[in-house]
């Protein structure tokens, strides 16, 4: 199938406006006849579900947590971008668009990103109206701060808990619709399969995680808003339950997977310290506004940070990138940290850490101001490490954080399966090969509040005469059977190793060989290793209990089975992209200064993979990226 991104004609600035005035509409009376399923209650899912229910569609919403409010978006710390130009510092929709395209290393679609920048403005309005308590100045106006990769202050925030406050806003809007009976919420329900009938999306199969009951749900359109798959690396900053299952099931049913290998490694996380460790904690990038990153100039330095004089410290980001300094984009900051640690100049017990130092900021601003800005992050650091960042510098190291890849979608956010949509982190669309800070929250809410509610009408206007979806059809029966047999395989398998055992093995291979730096050699090795892990997993995994009860090991087993397969696709993609761009760094392709070397003549495209069977490599389709407004250059933050 040829990929058609369905980008509207016309100049960039008017595409979305024109689209909205010409898109097909569904009348209120007809909306009541149409059922929409939203899987996921993070920013992307909750905002979409609330908005669609407000419009009058019958909405069913699913999440695996016990409450919609607990979706992983809750953990976002730093903030959300919007081109409000409240600071009068030269910001504009165009500039936000440009920064995002450049930050993504010219691997995102212009039209989508421009629309995102346009929608950003309304997001802040909407959230404030809902009662989101963003930070304010004494005059009562909204406050802003800056984030990596940009030179304006356009980030809105609520202390270090922006994601929490935005999600609670969307969650409350959703609960309001639940109360009005426009939406039905299914918490502790996990989607395990998509159902396709006559080439179109017809519904999903879910498992009630409390009783184990398998249910069929039909709908005229299904929206996946199931978040990122960073947990394929086992250790990441994602919540423990973040998974790929929903989008992986969709992929195996025919939805193409876009840029699977594009992973963001975040520079400011707490370093790893032991094998029992279950996750890595992010220290918000906003800390780089006031914290200075450094390592000792000498290798194998043993003195405490405070005892190392200024002249023997290397503030390597300020040195290498004088114009952006500590605020270079994440991919660059992460690689620079890896580089100094690989040189033997890392700090801490493992040598895999760099300092993030607030001494200057405390001197300049006073402890009170620093504490007002970052107090909760400092506290969290202290709680986890037992050290006080007010008196000694933080130690940080890069960790897996976000996945730019995801289901391929067109301008309407529809996957290659008609009627199946993907929004938020689980699609591939807006961040190219690297996401800028504070842009994921923006994308999730833009998709859910302001894009999908329009674009879904284009498809649903053709479904008005379909009538209720029949969940007794062969397609539903077969999908349910497949789910049940997989579950009973797990609980009946006579293995002797826990699910985590395999997940950790997979994570190690992915981190070592498909992580911050990749090469043909490492990726080839990874492919062999993952194949071995897959074989062993299906033979040796042990899942106690039954599938008819609350069973967390069974939940994990299904997720890890899908992660293993996804890992293989990521490796295939990383191998085939013989260039470096954004978070994808192939050691064979770097400039003499060690920066990522793009090869625009050959790789200016989105890789979209089609599933071809369990034992066959996926088929690559290319969506050429045409830059009509921006002229791609070697990204420079010097």
């Amino acid at each position: 199938m040829a990929l058609d991104a369905k980008i509207p004609a016309g100049p960039l600035e008017s595409k979305w406006t024109n689209y909205r005035s010409t898109v097909k509409l569904v009348s209120p009376a007809n909306k009541r006849k149409l059922d929409v399923i939203v899987v996921g209650t993070g920013l992307a899912g909750a905002s979409a579900a609330a908005s669609l229910a407000e419009l009058g569609y019958n909405v069913k919403v699913f999440c695996y947590q016990d409450s919609a409010r607990r979706a992983h978006s809750i953990a976002a710390q730093g903030g959300i971008n919007a081109a409000k130009n409240y600071r009068n510092d030269g910001d504009s929709i165009y500039r936000l668009f440009y920064d995002t395209i450049k930050g993504g290393d010219y691997r995102a679609r212009e039209a989508n990103v421009y629309r995102l920048a346009e929608a950003s403005v309304s997001i802040i309005d909407q959230c404030v109206a809902q009662g989101v308590p963003f930070a304010r100045e004494y005059g009562g106006l909204l406050d802003n701060r800056s984030f990596g990769g940009v030179q304006v202050s356009r980030t809105f925030y609520a202390r270090g808990q922006t994601g929490q406050q935005l999600l609670i806003g969307a969650y409350q809007a959703l609960e309001r619709q639940v109360g009005l009976k426009n939406a039905t919420l299914y918490t502790r329900h996990e989607m395990l399969e998509v159902v396709i009938k006559d080439g179109k999306s017809a519904g999903i199969i879910v498992r009630d995680l409390v009783t184990g009951e398998i249910q069929r749900h039909g709908a005229h359109a299904v929206v996946l808003a199931t978040g990122g798959y960073g947990n394929v690396f086992f250790l990441s900053t994602n919540a423990m339950g973040c998974n790929t299952t929903a989008i992986w099931r969709a992929y195996k049913k025919g939805a193409y997977f876009g840029n699977p290998c594009f992973t963001q490694i975040h520079p400011t996380c707490l370093p790893q310290h032991g094998d029992y460790q279950s996750k890595l904690t992010l220290m918000s990038e906003s800390l780089r506004n006031d914290g200075r990153v450094w390592v000792p100039k000498a290798k194998g330095e043993k003195r405490k940070a405070a005892d190392i004089p200024e002249s023997e410290r290397d503030y390597y980001l300020e040195r290498k990138y004088p114009s952006f300094g500590n605020l270079v984009p994440r991919d660059i900051a992460s690689r620079a940290a890896k580089e100094v640690c690989d040189e033997g100049r890392g700090v801490g017990s493992t040598g895999l850490a760099v300092y993030l130092d607030f001494a200057d900021a405390i001197k300049r601003l006073g402890q009170d101001v620093v504490s007002a800005r970052y107090g909760n992050l400092f506290e969290m650091y202290d709680k986890i490490t037992g050290e006080d960042p007010y008196t000694s510098p933080m130690m940080i190291y890069p960790a897996v954080h976000y996945t730019m890849g995801g289901l391929w979608v067109d301008y309407n956010l529809m996957t290659t399966i008609p009627g199946l949509y993907a929004t938020g982190e689980c699609n591939f669309s807006d961040h190219g090969a690297n996401r800028l800070g504070a842009s994921a929250l923006m994308q999730g809410l833009a998709d859910g509040y302001f894009v999908l509610p329009y674009t879904i009408g284009e498809y649903l206007s053709g479904e008005i005469l379909s009538g209720k979806i029949d969940t007794n059809s062969e397609a539903f029966v077969a999908a349910e059977e497949a789910v049940k047999s997989r579950l009973s395989f797990f609980t009946n398998n006579k293995g002797n190793k826990s699910v985590d055992y395999f997940h950790k093995q997979l994570g190690k291979v992915m981190w070592d060989d498909c992580g911050m730096a990749r090469s043909k050699e490492s990726l080839t090795r990874a492919a062999t290793e993952i194949a071995k892990i897959k074989e062993a997993f299906w033979k040796e995994v042990r899942v106690p209990g039954t599938d008819k009860e609350f069973n967390q090991e069974l939940e994990k087993a299904g997720r890890v089975a899908d992660f293993i397969e996804l890992g293989m696709l990521m490796v295939q993609d990383a191998l085939s992209r013989e260039e470096s761009c954004g978070g994808h760094f192939r050691t064979e392709y770097q400039t003499p200064e060690g920066e990522a070397m793009r090869r625009d003549d050959q790789y200016m495209f989105v890789s979209a993979y089609e599933f071809k069977g369990d034992d066959t490599a996926a088929q690559l389709h290319k969506e050429e990226l045409k830059y009509e407004v921006v002229h791609p250059t070697q990204r420079s933050y010097k």
């Binding site: 409240y86 309304s122 406050q165 302001f450 609350f550």
Partner: protein, 249 residues
């Protein structure tokens, strides 16, 4: 370190349940409390036994999923700390630790340490929102809000909906949770139009769920991992009284 764990085991909602005792060796003092449970579960699986079910997701103290009563205290001994942010360095080698689920009629146990907290969602559903549809909002800076008020609203809105306040209260009262939400929205101009209706509806729903009444023991504030202040309960009472007087209900 070496630990003895007494953990509440219960197969499902209807099971009576009871404590089981486990020995755990080699626990790193830098591990978090939940990582210690991961190690226990790995050990149980390897012994062919069923692991202990417990709620958790972010492990960063923000999602509100984790919920263990540790040695009789919701979220354990540390002030303003969720179970997932509690680290083993706060325990001693050789300690015996008792771990139970939230105990409250409003939060029935589903399995082991997992409870059903959907009552909180129903309270929000009853009125914990501002009625503004997508696309209806005015420009964000057209609403000026005093920084102090905005900060107070933020502090109330920082509640993570974990339910420790209910678990800590001998009456299983949900007043701190409800007070936090009522305060968040009552302090902001955006919440003004629905101010009275909201508090009446939320309190009615709270009473319809199986939560007890507040007798000012302040146990909720002491155990709240986010330091939500009991002044929010005072504000809830004021708002409720005022709404009752003015709405004629």
């Amino acid at each position: 370190m070496q630990l003895t764990l007494k953990v509440w085991r219960q197969k499902n909602r209807d099971d009576k349940g009871g404590f089981e005792t486990y020995q755990l060796g080699n626990v790193d003092h830098h591990a978090s409390f939940l990582e210690m449970f991961d190690v226990l579960n790995d050990q149980l699986i390897n012994e062919g036994k069923e692991p202990v079910a417990f709620d958790h997701d972010c492990r960063e103290g923000i999602c509100g999923a984790c919920s263990m009563v540790i040695n009789g205290r919701p979220h354990g001994p540390l002030k303003a700390t969720t179970t997932c942010q509690l680290h083993m360095r706060h325990f001693k080698d050789g300690d015996t630790i008792t771990v139970e689920p939230w105990r409250a009629k409003g939060f029935p146990v589903l399995r082991d340490l997992v409870t059903d907290r959907t009552a909180f969602d129903r309270i929000i559903e009853a009125g914990g929102f501002v009625s503004v549809n997508t696309g209806q909002a005015p420009d964000a800076n057209s609403i000026l809000i005093e920084k102090e008020k905005s900060d107070l609203a933020f502090e109330a809105a920082a509640c993570i909906g974990c339910g420790a306040c209910v678990a800590a209260c001998k009456n299983s009262s949900a007043m701190l949770f409800v007070g936090a939400k009522v305060s968040h929205l009552a302090l902001l101009p955006q919440g003004e139009p629905e101010r009275s209706l909201r508090v009446l509806k939320m309190v009615a729903q709270m009473e319809a769920e199986s939560f007890g009444s507040c007798t000012n023991t302040l146990a909720c504030e002491a155990e709240c991992p986010k330091g939500i202040s009991v002044t929010n309960i005072a504000r809830l009472n004021r708002e409720y009284l005022w709404a009752g007087l003015t709405s004629g209900k």
